[in-house]
């Protein structure tokens, strides 16, 4: 089905996995990368001119919620996959906090079946660390791995018992897969709805102190160091959290980390609007944290950018800042927001940004994608770095609209996506209906 030969010509090719950044053509054969080089020719190939565009490996998002099974009113694998595609993502990893929880091979099989029916992108499930996310009994990690999970996480219900977390990190070594922790000490975050600081104090809102995150990061790093279990820290949001990870990496602790586009570009003052589109967990922190996260991404302390795409329906988000659920969507805007705010405005390295979406997250989950190396599956994202647009709540591919970036003027947009050599998105349009 993917026997077609395609030649992508004239674009600027950026593949951090091979240190490539320049004018190169790319040949796709049989769904895989066949050749990368200058002035390639292939008579029988469909030739696509990409002058002015950037060609890179398809993006990988280590942290999304597609709400299937159980909360399909927020998102389905189909709507989530379409959101991913339009943002340039060809692989996404689904968090296990569905209903029922992904804690048995049966649920993994169900999700894989649904993903196969949709078939647009690579949809890779995580399994839970503990049964029912209850923090009491480990899941059958080997069985889950055999069924197809690529990591383990209790995401929003992090393992609070340090002894249990130790066991999880120890036992996960049998799989070699990462344990992904949403680092939050719930006794410290309490009823908080935003970052605890000057703004929460002024607004009279209960705060989540930075220490709710950093205490847990410190615990996990020490446990990973002691056990040798592979630890991945989800959505780092604090200066001190980044510093702890930096120091641990220096000591050789097997840890990787991710950061979200919203924590890189927004700060706690956004909550002055009392708008629940800015309510997520961990919360938006002060500007100095966002700055420190940019530095941590730049120096490699943080490996990956992940959206924590967390769809919620309008009626749920409209219930007011305190009652509204935590979470924002992010797949469709991630590239454009970071191109605009980091690359265009601050001269942040485009190659570093792309690395955090491609070979670096691939390494976390042991994927052979995220690269344009010859022989790799041809997952390719093409974007126009100059195209201007503005996200519109009425136009989301996601089923939900809870984006903090609605109405922003952005520069840079995905135009074309191939998944395993199949064109899925061309000239800013889906190739399949609905």
């Amino acid at each position: 089905m993917s026997a077609k030969t395609i030649l992508l010509k004239g674009g600027r090719l950026i593949d951090p996995s091979q240190g490539i950044d320049g004018q190169h053509d790319l040949l796709i054969e049989n769904g895989r990368i066949a050749k990368v080089g200058k002035n390639l020719k292939a008579d029988s190939a469909e030739t696509i001119e990409l002058k002015g565009k950037i060609v890179c490996p398809g993006f990988i998002d280590l942290h999304v919620h597609f709400r299937t099974p159980g909360q399909e009113h927020k998102e389905t694998i189909r709507t989530g996959s379409r959101a991913a595609l339009s943002g340039g993502f060809t692989t996404v990893c689904l968090m296990a906090n569905t209903d029922p929880v992904v804690d048995s091979p049966t649920i993994v099989e169900f999700i894989k079946g649904e993903a196969a029916k949709v078939g647009l992108i690579q949809v890779l499930p995580y399994g839970a660390v503990t049964l029912g996310l209850k923090g009491e009994n480990l899941t059958e990690m080997a069985a889950l791995q055999e069924a197809g999970v690529v990591g383990f996480s209790d995401d929003g219900m992090p393992v609070s018992n340090a002894g249990m977390m130790r066991r999880a990190l120890e036992y996960s070594r049998v799989t070699g897969l990462p344990v992904i922790d949403h680092c939050e000490e719930k006794e410290l975050s309490g009823h908080g709805v935003m970052h605890e600081g000057l703004t929460s104090c002024r607004l009279g809102l209960a705060g989540v102190p930075s220490e709710a995150e950093t205490v847990m990061i410190a615990r996990d790093l020490l446990l990973a160091e002691a056990t040798g279990g592979k630890l991945h820290i989800a959505h780092v949001s604090t200066v001190a959290g980044a510093e702890l990870i930096r120091a641990a990496k220096k000591r050789g602790v097997p840890v990787t980390a991710e950061v979200t586009p919203h924590h890189l570009t927004l700060s706690e003052e956004a909550l002055e609007s009392y708008d629940s589109r800015f309510k997520m967990n961990p919360p938006l922190r002060p500007k100095k944290d966002a700055q420190a996260l940019r530095e941590a991404l730049n120096d490699g302390t943080i490996d990956a950018i992940a959206t924590d795409h967390a769809p919620h329906s309008l009626s749920e988000k409209e219930t007011g800042l305190i009652q509204a659920p935590f979470g924002v969507i992010g797949l469709e805007t991630a590239l454009a927001v970071l191109l605009t705010e980091l690359v265009h405005k601050q001269g942040f390295s485009l190659a570093t940004l792309i690395a955090a979406w491609t070979h670096k997250p691939a390494k976390v989950i042991g994927s052979d994608r995220g690269t344009l190396a010859v022989g790799a599956p041809a997952d390719i994202t093409v974007f126009d770095p100059e195209q201007e647009w503005s996200p519109d709540a009425g136009q989301t591919a996601s089923k939900s609209k809870n984006s903090p970036f609605i109405g922003w003027k952005l520069k840079g947009r995905v135009t074309d996506v191939w998944v395993s050599g199949q064109a899925r998105y061309r000239d800013g349009r889906f190739l399949t209906e609905d």
Binding site: G197, G204, L264, Y274, L321, E341
Partner: protein
Amino acid sequence: MAAWTRKDLLSLEELSKEELLLLLDQAKAFKEISLRPIKKVPALRGRTVALCFLEPSTRTRASFELAAKRLSADLLSFQGNSSSITKGESVVDTARNIEAMRVDVIVLRHNTSGTPAQVAHAVKASIINAGDGSHEHPTQGLIDLFTIQEKKGRIEGLNVVIVGDILHSRVARSDLWGLMKLGAKVTLCGPPTLVPSAMEQLGAKISYRLDDVLPKADVVIALRLQLERQQEKYIPSFREYTRLYGIDSDRLKKAKPDLTIMHPGPVNRGLELSSEVADGPQSVILDQVTNGIAVRMAALYLVAGIHPADEEPVSEPGRIDLPVREKQVR
């Protein structure tokens, strides 16, 4: 003096010094009316005021009700439990429904910070915040300013100590903004667990021992301690709280003889204030209650003057209201 231009009264943080003075002057004029045998004026005749109290309240609601009646407004009263209303129907929906009945002013009390601001953004009717979560209680703040001005003849340069649970107090926030804008020196005093250190960045001083700051105080505003704070482990015991922050006649001996003692009510007698102090000559607690009506008449009168009653309602059911915002980090 500047004219009033705001549709809503949501917080004292957003008001200028001139706007505060305008409200206080207007309240002074209305206070004279409430001392007359016939206390009613036709200022809001034909206007409708809805009291929407989605959190239990007796005093503030009664005060607003009397204020509206003395201005000859028609009155509509809603009471309810915030959580049961927000579950089925968002507060914005409720407000749009009230507005659809062509109500001019909605006085809103809600247990969630920011709800009045969100409602004000969504409807054309004027909104008066009658207390939102731990955010602000602007009319109580104005009452305290009015009462201090009345008793002391000035606000500028006074040492004002606000003592108690600052963290959860909407009164403390409104008092702080109002007092600072009018030039008072404000000290926030209470247990470290209940006084956010970030308040210092707003311009207040912080003290954890009342005895350290009481001698210099011209005014002390004692806040009501919510009884669940002990269960929530913010304080070890009420006994310890009273030892450090309760005001009785003994502690008053360390204070200036002309110290004025205020409390937004209702007082936990024996906890924040002893009965002798609450009922003593330095206490102006009942003057605060009296002044409450004049201040609320002023608030109703000024915001109602901005909103033309015959304007088309803006109800746009189902509209996704997502305004363009400035980006936060540059």
